[in-house]
């Protein structure tokens, strides 16, 4: 299954639908075994912040590179 990809480094003009909102919406829709690839920038949203977010939603976080990680809802 292809992972959904969300790029948190792209900030849209205006106040509609910022990428963090797209991410939390995608997290809520995430089914068991599914994952989201997240592209981030440490000075915009630190990895520790993403770790807290994933923890709060019961997801695992795997860092792939300095600006990429995977959030996964593990099979129970």
């Amino acid at each position: 299954m292809r992972a959904k990809k969300i790029d948190l480094t792209i900030q849209p003009e205006g106040c509609v639908n910022p990428p963090i909102v797209r991410l939390t919406r995608a997290i809520r829709e995430l089914k068991q075994g599914e994952e989201i690839e997240v592209i981030y920038k440490e000075d915009l949203i630190p990895l520790k912040t993403l770790q807290l977010l994933s923890r709060k939603y019961g997801l695992s976080l795997i860092q792939i590179s300095s600006n990429k990680c995977i959030l996964k809802r593990e099979e129970s």
Binding site: V21, L23, D43, I45, P46, T49, Q51, L52, L53
Partner: protein, 407 residues
């Protein structure tokens, strides 16, 4: 004093859990939750009384008309006036647009309209475009770094050409409470009309339009326990009579021929068409609820929550969180707006949501104020009568964990 725990039972939504936690609803400046009394009143009206108002001779129409008219009186009593000075609209934005349209013939080229940099767009854009249409001057009063209004500048800006001074009673960003009485005194040294955006004050503070000596005031039902789709334009009766109707149609006239039109008296001449009848009845029930709790009690309860929030942030998170607005709770209403060092406002709000805490992030429809204060965006926690000190503690605990992720 408010018995919050008992009162919370009237708000079933507060029992809802999100992400495994009971919700903390701190987005009251955007819209409030509704007690069962309001929902039941509207349900009962639909089930037992509903009909169109003013046009029917049958029993249901007469009962509906009586209750719709009574709703004007109930709302009027909250702000110290009478029912013929209350026009029902769709909300604050609709009220101010209705006013800006209605007053347009009284504004001439070179006249002046004064507003402030801290306004919600709904009390800025109608005046901006009115001044553009009429080639009037739009003057803007500044605020200081903490969002306090500069009354001296107002004194200097008001001239004999000033027709309107439009200010918010309470900023939806900084929470700053304008001394409206003082504004009215300065404005009324000339023939200017004083227009007050009461969207954030009427739901939270005791307001008496006669004591404040203001000419017009706008506010929304949905921010004060009432339904959406209903709002209020208060106006002194003689001034409401001067307004050109925003809408023409049924219900506003006493006689129409092909050559002549005779209008009804206010407020009906400004309420053309079938109004939001059930919403008006719901708003009246919300007002009764608020009056039963007591506006002074609500104000003092919210001040306590603000004081606790400000104190905890100052004591525990001062290095990471910057409060927007005056730090003295006496100068502000029931909200706390802030920024977090190293984290974007939407990120903070999204993380709080993961804790079940609902706040608002962005520029809160007050772009000029954010620009003035050099802010990209802010997070706003806004309180109401059903919020508790325990919820504030949960909020601070969550914030502590969130800011702890930033080095």
């Amino acid at each position: 004093m408010i018995d919050v725990e008992t009162l919370r039972k009237d708000f079933p939504i507060l029992e809802r859990e999100i992400n495994g936690q009971k919700i903390v609803y701190f987005d009251n400046a955007a819209s409030s939750q509704k007690p069962v009394q309001v929902v039941e009143r509207m349900r009962d009206f639909y089930y037992n009384t509903y009909a169109n108002v003013h046009r029917g001779v049958h029993t249901l129409s007469q009962e509906a008309s009586e209750q719709y008219e009574e709703a004007h009186a109930v709302v009027a009593s909250l702000i110290g006036t009478k029912k013929d000075e209350i026009v029902f609209t769709m909300g604050t934005t609709d009220s101010i647009n209705m006013l800006a349209h209605g007053i347009e013939p009284l504004i001439g080229e070179g006249d002046e309209i004064i507003t402030t940099v801290m306004e919600h767009h709904s009390n800025y854009l109608p005046w901006k475009f009115l001044s553009k249409r009429k080639k009037a001057k739009l003057k803007i009063i500044d605020v200081d770094e903490d969002g306090r209004l500069d009354y001296t500048q107002l004194e200097n800006l008001v001239t004999q050409r000033t027709r309107i001074v439009a200010v918010c009673h309470m900023s939806n960003v900084t929470g700053f409470i304008t001394n409206v009485e003082k504004v009215a005194k300065i404005a009324h040294e000339t023939e200017a009309y004083v227009v007050v955006d009461g969207a954030q004050s009427v739901p939270h503070l005791p307001v008496n339009v006669k004591k404040l000596d203001i000419d017009f005031m706008a506010f929304s039902g949905h921010k004060m326990l009432g339904p959406t789709g209903i709002g209020v334009l208060y106006g002194k009766k003689d001034l409401l009579k001067e307004l050109t109707p925003y809408r023409y149609g049924g219900g506003m006239i006493s006689r129409v021929t092909l050559s002549e039109v005779e209008f009804q008296d206010v407020p009906w001449r400004l309420e053309a068409g079938t109004p939001n009848i059930v919403q008006a009845v719901g708003l009246a029930e919300a007002v009764k609820y608020l009056k039963k709790v007591g506006m002074e009690n609500i104000e003092s309860h919210e001040k306590q929550l603000v004081k606790k929030t400000l104190t905890l942030i100052q004591e525990e998170l001062k290095e990471k969180i910057k409060i927007v607005g005056p730090l003295n709770p006496q100068e502000r209403g029931g909200l706390v707006t802030f920024t977090v060092k190293g984290l974007d406002h939407h990120t903070v709000a999204s993380l709080l949501d993961a804790y079940g805490i609902m706040v608002r992030s962005g520029k809160h429809c007050a772009h000029p104020l954010h620009e003035r204060l050099g802010l990209e965006g802010t997070v706003r926690a806004s309180f109401y009568l059903y919020n508790t000190e325990h919820e504030v503690e949960r909020f601070i605990q969550a914030l502590t964990e969130i800011v702890g992720t930033v080095d």
